[in-house]
Amino acid sequence: MSLENRFDQEYDAVLHLLDRQVLDKDGLFVCKVDDLELTETEHGLTATALLAGSPALLPRVSGPAGRVAQEFWGKMGDEQADRRLPYRIDFALVEELTSAVTLTVTRHKVLVRAPDPEERDDEEPVRRRLGTLLRFPVLDASGRTEGKVLDVRLDEEHRLTSLRIGKGSIASNLGYDRNEKQGPALVRAFVRWLHRHQQEVAIQDATIDWEDRVVRIRGDRTRTQSTPA
């Protein structure tokens, strides 16, 4: 069974890309997609690279366990300058996305450290991580919380087109909300109930405030229920 390349159409970053296995061109395993690098370009926020390694993975583990793990990781190699920098695979090296991500090259020396954000020139675009965005609460025009960012939709050029907002965090990757008929019925009903408040917000209607770690949505947008990608 050949699966189609998801990168030929719109896709959801968390559902389809995050935590996927990365294979090299010979089919050997490279790493998992531990996080996604988002860069602010003239087209808006664009996914530019896959991120891998403990510095990318550990911040995505929520709660006290995640924080402890991150600190421990840092302390174990405090003398290393790049200890907290993840590995980076540019999208230029990515061939396609089917049930795994395939690269155009072999895995030999493919994982290279991402540049240190503290050494960035002012002309260089700011690089962000999807994992950071995913924990931002979402406020509507009057300041009330609508939930958190659960997923983001990207187009064929990897540009961010919309955000998916909802309450609750567990089971957000199960994908039940995307497929009308996915079984088993009991689990689907339970997950649907957990995510009954989900909605999709176009990126033009939202402002991402990275400093305050919050997303604000405009009051006058049209509400759309989430639909499968």
């Binding site: 069974m1 699966l3 389809h16 995050l18 935590d19 996927r20 296995q21 990365v22 050997l28 395993f29 490279v30 790493c31 998992k32 531990d34 891998a52 993975l57 995505r60 583990v61 929520s62 709660g63 366990a65 995640g66 049930s99 795994a100 567990i170 957000s172 990757n173 199960l174 994908g175 497929n179 996915q182 079984g183 088993p184 019925a185 009991l186 689990v187």
Partner: protein, 409 residues
């Protein structure tokens, strides 16, 4: 003809590979104390493992990905990590029990104390996992494990009163002097022994090792639906033999030597020799499987190259994990803890870890992203949901029962 042979091989390997030290010890203990009054638990356990192994195998054949690989994708890194830690703990405990089991089996053959033997066994397991081909490991130990069929033969030779056996099997209550709590505790233990968590993850990783494709699904199903129930039959035979020999003596089974005694009584030295070969093969095979499973789980969570289908140096981290797991297991055995007791603990903790294992499998097997059109049908989903409820009940009941009955005393 060649196809028929390969199907037969698969079925035989499934039967021989079904029983491990947990099954040997738990079934004999239960038989000696409760007769066949818990046989229904084995039946349910066998149905459960058939349903989930089929799902797990289908996932590997259709998507080319192993099940645990997909757990992190579907549940996220946090829940995936919880799953990893839980599965690893139980798998390592089982690994210790299996290596201990092999050592005890060798002690029965050679008379040398198992404490002197386990380092040899540990090194042997590691070398085989490092060097031998995956299919060789599976086929050799699976076929030799068929020696345990001698339990079925012995059962007939012991000349039982079949109506008495039937009566015991249909009596759904504890036997003389045993409390309901103890009966329930052993029921949960038996369930954990039949539905070993590592088995389903191993089955799908094995499928990827052997490069199954969608065309292999029907062969895989034959192996599962023929092999596992026959393996379950073996478990019941072990319990029945123990029942016939030990129950009238009011003796309980605590050691591996006692497990094999009914064979000697029924069939003499020849039968015993075959049974001992079966013990070694079953426990050694299971030791290899659990050892590999520790490597599979960690590598599949972090995305490292795993498997014996690539050269050892290409999957260096995977083999390192297996080495460390073997050293750790030997370290635990060096504390002189009784391997039979470790086995008893491992089956109960297996029961506790069951929902962690089965829920992701059910989710992934329904996902068209991985399965295309071969997602679960309605019957499979119905069975899957029912079993999910059953395993959750067993998991929740396991630890309280263990504490309350003081580990089934």
């Amino acid at each position: 003809m060649k196809r028929l042979l390969s199907v037969a091989l698969g079925v035989l390997t499934a039967i021989g590979g079904f029983v491990d030290i947990g099954d040997l010890v738990t079934n004999a203990e239960v038989g000696s104390r409760f007769g066949l009054s818990l046989a229904w638990v084995t039946v349910i356990g066998v149905v459960g493992i058939c349903v989930f192994s089929e799902m797990s195998g289908r996932i590997a054949a259709v998507s080319g990905r192993a099940t645990f690989d997909l757990v992190r994708e579907r549940l996220g890194p946090g829940m995936g990590m919880v799953n990893l830690l839980g599965s690893m703990a139980v798998t390592l405990l089982t690994f210790v029990a299996e290596i201990g089991g092999v050592s005890l089996a060798f002690q029965l053959i050679t008379g040398v104390d198992y404490l002197l033997l386990f380092p040899v066994v540990g090194v042997l397991v590691w070398v085989i996992l490092w060097r031998a081909k995956f299919s060789h490991i599976e086929n050799v130990f699976g076929m030799l494990g068929l020696g345990l069929l001698v339990f079925v033969v012995a059962l007939f030779h012991l000349g039982p009163d079949w109506s008495q056996l039937g009566h015991s099997a249909l009596s759904f209550h504890p036997t003389r002097d045993e409390s309901w709590a103890t009966w329930a505790y052993y029921g949960v233990a038996l369930f954990g022994a039949a539905m070993t968590p590592y088995e389903v993850f191993f089955f799908s990783s094995g499928g990827v090792e052997e490069k199954w494709g969608p065309k292999d699904v029907s062969v895989m199903r034959t192996n599962v639906f023929l092999g596992f129930p026959l393996g379950g039959l073996l478990s019941v035979a072990i319990a029945a033999c123990a029942y016939l020999v030990y129950y009238p003596l009011q003796a309980s089974v605590d050691t591996l030597g006692q497990v094999g005694l009914p064979i000697a009584l029924a069939l003499g030295k020849i039968g015993l020799a075959i049974a001992l070969l079966g013990f070694v093969a079953a426990t050694f095979g299971a030791a290899c499987e659990t050892g590999l499973s520790t490597g599979y789980s960690i590598a599949q969570y972090f995305g490292w190259q795993w498997g014996k289908f690539v050269r050892t140096d290409v999957a260096a981290r995977f083999h390192l994990v297996i080495l460390l797991a073997t050293v750790l297991a030997m370290g635990v055995l060096a504390t002189q803890v009784d391997p039979v007791m470790v086995t008893e603990a491992s089956v109960v903790f297996s029961a506790v870890a069951l929902p962690l294992t089965y829920f992701p499998i059910l989710v992934v097997a329904n996902d068209p992203d991985y399965m295309g059109e071969r997602v679960n049908g309605r019957v499979t989903n119905a069975l899957g949901t029912v079993f999910l409820i059953v395993v959750t009940v067993a998991a929740v009941a396991a630890l309280p029962l263990m504490v309350w009955t003081r580990m089934g005393a």
